[in-house]
């Protein structure tokens, strides 16, 4: 019959298409930590239980569909009650549930115990980047999506870790209990690394705790898991786990670098950069940090993000302009970039904005100008 043919075609499609799929694991990953292993086991246990119940229920149903059909000339029975069976099939699922709840409770209690951590890292989400701060050390930095825009817009071939790569990954030591303090500067984000079975919301104004203890060095990737606005899909998490010794070396190096950068900043104050240099750096910085909202052409998104091209503040109010880039504007999506960008980059991006897209003010902003506004705020 026709219907059967249609059905068969569909079935064929159903079977052939997935056979072409590649690379994607079809199940939850076991992860690398002890906890993620427990979670995986729980997942499989419940899954199998559901399969068995499903097998019995659907089995009975299909048996009935095949055997108890009118076309076979059966006469319908008339029973419609049986207290005994009904009690039974209330009680048995209940027992099964208790059986599931016990291991689940155990794992949960273990997951929620973040005592005795050896390293604490504050993780702050903001639209659309992560900020990491090593609590016991003098080191903090931002971590932003590194995939080039061109790849996203399909103008360049997509790299292997498309959308799962950042400019500066978080680095943690292996075999160490690391505690994360999650918070946010604006909306709710959620920090998630599947391999660790850690997913915790970063709520503005509150700090949530989570922890992990990674036994194996490696690169672990995850994503923001709470809708946080336009670029929620472009906010990956990358964590590198290193052996303790390597980690210590890395940490020392980073701390030294950070100090060097601060010193460099001071030196910069006395320097004048050329227009060319400022505009080049400014464009690069703008495209990386600002264009997500204000758009590469400076037109913004009407009703959401203001245009900078022709903006009164940008063309006239020089101090206001530097201030808003430094400190952001409370209660809006405009975050402060004073912590994230270097003085040089800040100066460059402001210069760029004041001269691009027909804003031709002709003004150059130097690092010292930015520093002056920074001081003014203190």
């Amino acid at each position: 019959m026709d219907l059967k043919k249609i059905g068969l075609c569909w079935l064929a499609a159903l079977v052939t298409i997935p056979s072409q799929a590649k690379d994607m694991p079809l199940n939850l990953s076991q992860g690398v930590t002890d906890i993620s292993g427990q979670v995986y086991d729980l997942h499989m246990t419940i899954f199998y239980i559901c399969c068995i119940i499903g097998f019995i229920v659907f089995g009975a149903m299909f048996y009935s569909i095949v055997r108890h059909r009118k076309s076979r000339g059966v006469k319908p029975a008339n029973f419609h009650e049986s207290t005994k069976v009904e009690i039974l099939w209330t009680a048995i699922p209940f027992m099964i549930l208790i059986g599931m709840a016990i291991p689940a409770t155990k794992t949960l209690i273990a997951m929620e115990n973040s005592d005795d951590a050896e390293l604490t890292i504050q993780v702050t989400g903001s639209q659309w980047k992560w900020h990491y701060k090593y609590f016991e050390h003098d080191l903090e930095f931002y971590s932003v999506l590194a995939t080039p825009k061109k790849q996203i817009e399909n103008k360049l071939a997509k790299g292997e870790n498309y959308l799962l790569e950042v400019d500066r990954p978080l680095v943690i030591p292996t075999n160490t209990k690391v505690r994360f303090l999650m918070t946010s500067d604006d909306v709710i984000h959620s920090w998630w690394v599947p391999e660790f079975a850690v997913k915790k919301d970063a709520n503005p104004g509150f700090i949530n705790e989570a922890w992990t203890n990674v036994p194996k060095p490696g690169i672990y990737r995850g994503q923001c898991a709470e809708l946080c606005g336009k670029d929620h899909g472009f906010m990956p998490v990358v964590v590198i786990a290193k052996e303790q010794a390597e980690f210590d070396a890395w940490l020392a190096e980073q701390v030294a670098k950070q100090q060097a950068r601060e010193a460099e900043e001071q030196r910069l104050l006395a320097m004048q950069l050329s227009e060319q240099e400022l505009m080049d750096l400014g464009k690069r910085t703008y495209d990386q940090f600002c264009s997500a909202c204000h758009q590469p052409n400076g037109q913004g998104l009407p009703g959401m993000f203001p245009a900078l091209a022709g903006s009164e503040m940008v063309t006239q109010d020089r101090q206001g302009h530097i201030d808003i880039v430094l400190h952001g504007k409370a209660g809006t999506a405009m975050a402060g970039y004073g912590k994230q960008l270097s003085l040089k980059e800040l100066a460059a991006v402001v210069t760029y904005e004041r001269n691009a897209w027909g804003n031709n003010t002709g003004e150059l902003i130097q690092a010292a100008d930015v520093q002056a506004r920074k001081n003014a705020a203190d």
């Binding site: 219907l3 249609i6 569909w10 499609a13 159903l14 298409i17 997935p18 072409q20 590649k22 994607m24 694991p25 199940n27 939850l28 990953s29 729980l42 997942h43 419940i46 559901c50 119940i53 229920v57 009975a60 009935s64 108890h68 059966v74 319908p76 419609h80 009650e81 049986s82 009904e86 209330t90 699922p93 709840a101 409770t105 949960l108 929620e112 399909n154 997509k158 870790n161 999650m182 604006d186 909306v187 959620s190 599947p194 079975a197 919301d201 709520n203 104004g205 509150f206 949530n208 898991a225 709470e226 809708l227 606005g229 929620h232 899909g233 472009f234 009407p302 009703g303 959401m304 209660g331």
Partner: protein
Amino acid sequence: MSSVTDQTLDHDSHDHHHAPKGLMRWLLTTNHKDIGTLYLIFAFTMFLVGGAMAMVIRAELFQPGLQLVEPNFFNQMTTVHGLIMVFGAVMPAFTGLANWMIPMMIGAPDMALPRMNNWSFWILPFAFAILLASLFMEGGGPAFGWTFYAPLSTTYSNDSTALFVFAVHIMGISSIMGAINVIVTIVNLRAPGMTWMKLPLFVWTWLITAFLLIAVMPVLAGVVTMVLTDKYFGTSFFDAAGGGDPVMFQHIFWFFGHPEVYIMILPSFGIVSAIIPAFARKPLFGYASMVYATASIAGLSFIVWAHHMFTTGMPLFGELFFMYCTMLIAVPTGVKVFNWVATMWRGAMTFEVPMLFALAFVILFTIGGFSGLMLAITPVDFQYHDTYFVVAHFHYVLVSGAIFSIYAAAYYWLPKWTGYMFDEFLAKAHFWCSLISVNILFFPMHFLGLAGMPRRIPDYALQFADVNQIVSIGGFAFGLSQLIFLAVIVKAARGGEKAEAKPWEGAEGLEWTVPSPAPYHTFETPPVIK
């Protein structure tokens, strides 16, 4: 024609046997069948609109990279798709069925409060007009998900939020009035002899649904009001700087939101409990336990809300409490599933289209229930939460659950509504195409979620590409399949083989005692109930 139902008022100059025709008839009607029809047509229209948005989502996700739409627009599509399907398609469809069937099932002349009935319908199209119009505002429409979590919906949203808030208020008012009408009709207008334990299960489930609606829609109204004041009037309910908490939003929202999902499934249970006995030619197994199970599900639904919030950093004991309570819901739901299977057991089944949809419902809803149970296990939910695993779960219970049951109901009662049998071939084609494509559409989403694809993203890592493509193909196929239903309906409304008063051999209930199509006024005098 002695009944007062037909009485003409002394001040009514016109005789309503010559009731207004054309548009005016529909605008001014107080007849439960007219209003039921309006609800059903509206719901199906909204289903197409919401479905078209889903097609935009699926088209964008067909390949990695951004091709069709901007991320911001994508978020608007996700948000409005969710809102429209929930408030514009499933809920009005159920209310439409309630309007059509409840008075006929309990032997009542009409709904208890007929004018209010009209009002609760007609405010809906306006509410959705506002919501849809906001998409064309500068900055676009709501883009914060159908759950509109603060502060994304407050400080960080655009100006269409104000319209969104008031649109939701109107939808809420509509639902509450509709629910009041249903409850009062059932409690007060049953024909003599229609005792509580004789009520058809569809009526029972709707009674309980209506109670849920009245209990939680006002809470939704409250929470959107707080969103409004937080955004525009400087309050800080959801802002820590003023002593509030963004997570408080989620508590209040889900206190509404979880019962809401049962609002979208309990009437389905009622429908399936009517159809399976009819085509198994055997009385429903465990009628009483069905009633108690429905009531327990409704009761439990008030104390499980935070299972949507396991990752928000609740204290341990909160997580445990909500996990246990959520798991408990599997027990009464299981009772229902077992009862359906027991009803089929040793029956004499035939497989007309309503039965096909009902059977598919039982299996696919149960699969969705299983994934729900997996989500309830807190430590594992940390992995599943906000991934496509959740999307798979709720589409199984909503699309192959609620929507399939609505189709089952539509096919079951269509002869009663139109007086004609529908085109069997087309209807079967609709069923099989839907059944197969819905699984291609939603089953692989489980894999995407387990492999780590977050929901609400317009672009994804390369490993998810192939499965997303399959899902999208399933999506387009499912979408096209729904057009077959449109054809069935249009055809059946225009004519066809005349339907008897009781076109289904095994069907039981008062609605089958009146001719097909059901006369404009049924049961002007109460029927006698055995």
